[in-house]
């Protein structure tokens, strides 16, 4: 659904989710949120109100796919897996992100 680059925050969330999923077989939404918090040392907190719309948007865009399964505590849960399209997207987003951060870093250092 469209290009999300114009919305930097949304784009960032997409990047994080794709990155997490790229290093796991499949995860449900809660686990994704937890993992982002954990890795970022609780700096980045992902709210369900942003996470699930993002996951659905990415599902519709074909970057991830989902299926219902059973969680570690035996509950029905929806599991997300990254698709090849999603991996390509991730590569692009990562490149974009590093270009952006290095640009910001240059400005901060040299201004």
């Amino acid at each position: 659904m469209g290009d999300n680059n114009k919305d930097q925050l949304q784009g960032t969330l997409d990047l994080l989710v794709l990155r997490i999923l790229s290093s796991a077989a499949s995860m449900h939404g809660f686990a994704i949120a937890e993992r982002i918090e954990q890795i970022s040392h609780e700096v980045l907190r992902v709210e369900a109100g942003s996470l699930y719309p993002a996951l659905h948007r990415m599902t519709e865009a074909g970057w991830v796919k989902s299926s219902w399964g059973v969680s570690e505590n035996n509950r029905r849960a929806r599991f997300y897996t990254i698709t090849p399209v999603g991996r390509r997207r991730l590569a692009a987003e990562e490149k974009h992100w590093s270009a952006l951060t290095s640009a910001v870093g240059r400005v901060l250092k040299n201004a």
Binding site: M1, A48, G49, Y52, H56
Partner: protein
Amino acid sequence: MSLLSRFRNLGHYGKLDREFDEELAFHVDQLTEKYVAQGLSREQAARRARQHAGNLVTAKEDMREARIMMWVDTLLRDIVYGARMLRRQPGTTFLAVLTLSLGIGANTVIYSLLHAALIRPLPFPSSQRLVAIVDDFVAENRFDMSPSIPETLDVRAATRTLDPVSFFDTRDAQINGGSEPVRAISARIEADFLRTLGVQPALGRLFTQRDHEAGRDRVVILSDAFWRRNFGSDPTIINRNIVVNGGGYTVVGILPPGVSFDYFTPEPIEIYVPYPMTPDYTSRTNAFAGLRRVMAIARLRDGATVEQADAELATIARRLKTDYPNSYRRGSDGQDLGFSMGATPLRQLVIGRGARTAVWLLFGAVGLILLIACANTAQFLMARAIERQPEVMVRAALGAGAGRLLRQFLTEAFLFAALASALGLFQASLLASVLRAMLNSPSGLLSHLGLNTPVIAFTLLVTVFVTIVAGVFPALHLIRRRFVATDPSRTTGVTRSRIRHVMIAAQVATSVLLLLSTVIVAMGLRQLQALPTGYDADHVTVMRLRSAAPFDARGTGGYYQKYLQALAGVPAIDSAAMADGPLQDFAGVEFSIVGRSDDAATLSVQRAGWRIVSPDYFRVLGIPLKVGRTLTDDDRADTQQVIVINEEMARRFWRDQNPIGQQIKSGAGPRLRVATVVGVVGDVRPPHRIELPPQIYVSYLQHSEPNATLLVKAAPGQRAPIDAIKQAIRTVVPEQPFYAIEPLDEIVQRSTNTPRLMTRLLGSFALLAVALSMLGVYTVVNYLTARRTKEVALRRAIGATPRDILRLLGLPTLRWTIAGITIGFLIGAWLVRFVSTVATAFDMPRGSLQLDPLTIAATTAIYVVVVCAAVLAPAARALRVQPGIILRAE
């Protein structure tokens, strides 16, 4: 998101919602567990989890946006909203939809006429590559004439763009050998005719050039329908003999079902025989050389275009003109006839030039009506939009973009147009059957007049057109002023009413134009019908028959004489006559005047109408004798050849001399005849024609013709005793069949069918246009008046008279309307020339078609009266309200 999955999502709306709820519940539960593990109480953990999960409702909304085709959703909302708007004032809405539907219905039905008559391809393979070879005589304003056979053969020898080239003509035939004797339309065809059309035989074979050889030419091909009807689909019919017009013919082929070339005959052609390719027909000097009775058709060679063929034929025509100069000069004064040849796509020729112009004229007329109706719809939607101005401003303030608002308006306009189109299609289906009945056309083409896929596609296109034209106007208008936070009920709306008034002027101009066109065509028709005919068709009944005389017999006259003698004893008959046709149609026969070689006029070939008649023909039709004598039964084959001519012929060729005793020469070789003028009779104007052709009448005892017409005039106050007539004639030939029995005045009447139908259709369209534009005027004045009620009340309170008020409310609109009328007349004056050419195509008097001051004055007067009513009615209503009531209501 693929469109497909959007639609799937739409279908799974409920399921997806439930799944999302479940997913969120899982998330919240997991979060709660996490907080419990961190040491919170279960209640605290649950509350915190819910807070942390964020605004679930917003999330759900966002997801819905993500999943559902947003535009479908908005569209549905727009439609529901639009429907609510339309329902708000059902009466007004219905009236507005109804008027638009009349415009759309008229367009649909006329487009279906246009499509059936001019666009739908003929049912032959690659039929767009079929052309007709035509002669034009520019100086005589005759176009798309049939070429003569020698011309066609010259073209065939020379052409590089056409192959094959062929020709045919049609005649009545009587066939024996089937289940019973029948009459059918037969075509005499050149061998390549069916191949040119691209037809393959279902059984047997088509003709070859060898079938034109003497002794081999007694072969016949039957249509599928004829074969089924009369020979019970018997396949062994091939190589059997049947009797056609008294001669034995061998059946060599059966055509496939549905193959029919019925565009130029009143009934489908059922049997095909080889054309008699004898010198009589094929040489340039023999008897029938100049007859334009065949129609020449050809197929474009691969790679050749109609334009190339047309150019090539013009070149060939120039050569023919040099080779045979006398054939292409007018007889009376030797003037160049402006002869040329050309190729016309067969599809175009199937509908004559006049009818073609007429169809386009009608299409133009309904197009104008559609514009008027669009203007009305736009006015209506604009009025609705302005009522909604506060609402639009609120929505704009809440962030609805201009695109969003435009879409809302377009959706409403579309809803409106779609309703009107549905209603219009319904009307069109009714109108189409009425029109089919009115047209009563022999051509199979018009049987396709009705609602079919291309026609419905056209209506859809019209719907879209109306949506855009009628929807964009009010939308743009309103969006432009959406941030102007004024109270709409207080604006005097100067700019707004200017747009409205310009539209009014345009509508009025358009309807005046239509009204004028109708008046012009109707006047032409009336003048034409008022022309003296020169004969009396009253009480005359006409029936066609084909002589039962043996095929090659020299004298059909002997039989006809016996028929007439048998009829003499029948009561209730005033007089009866035989002829080779009811009335004359066009100058066909070529002749030269004997003994006047000093005169340019006599050097070249002359042309005149030719009618073989029995003596009482003049009595039956009441044609007066002017000089000399008429024909008698003593003018026989063995006596001097005599002719009777009409006054026009005497005027043209013997202006200052006594025509009696003069001689003319026609034909050549063994058929050369010299005949002496014995009498001059009054002119007969062929049905529905302006010019009077010179006319020759010859004796039925001196000329043989198997295709005959019996004309019977009933005694005063009596009806023609058809059965007694048949019985009397069957005492002479027991099996004699009759067909096409009808009163002569019906035949004459039928010849004015097209112009009468045109007048009627244009008339109803003009009335519709006037009604629609008046409705437009009324709506606008009504609206503007309603918006100024307070102002009017105030003015009256401070002493304005009713006259002042009427002037205030009505004058601007009246001014614009009169501007519209003026513009309409100005365009009309220019258009009159165009309508005149249309009228000429129907043989209407051209010179008489002009806008005389009386017509202008009458049309204007009627129009102004109607406009005044439309303007003053709402204004007067405003006056009836007590000013105090309104002012106190403030």
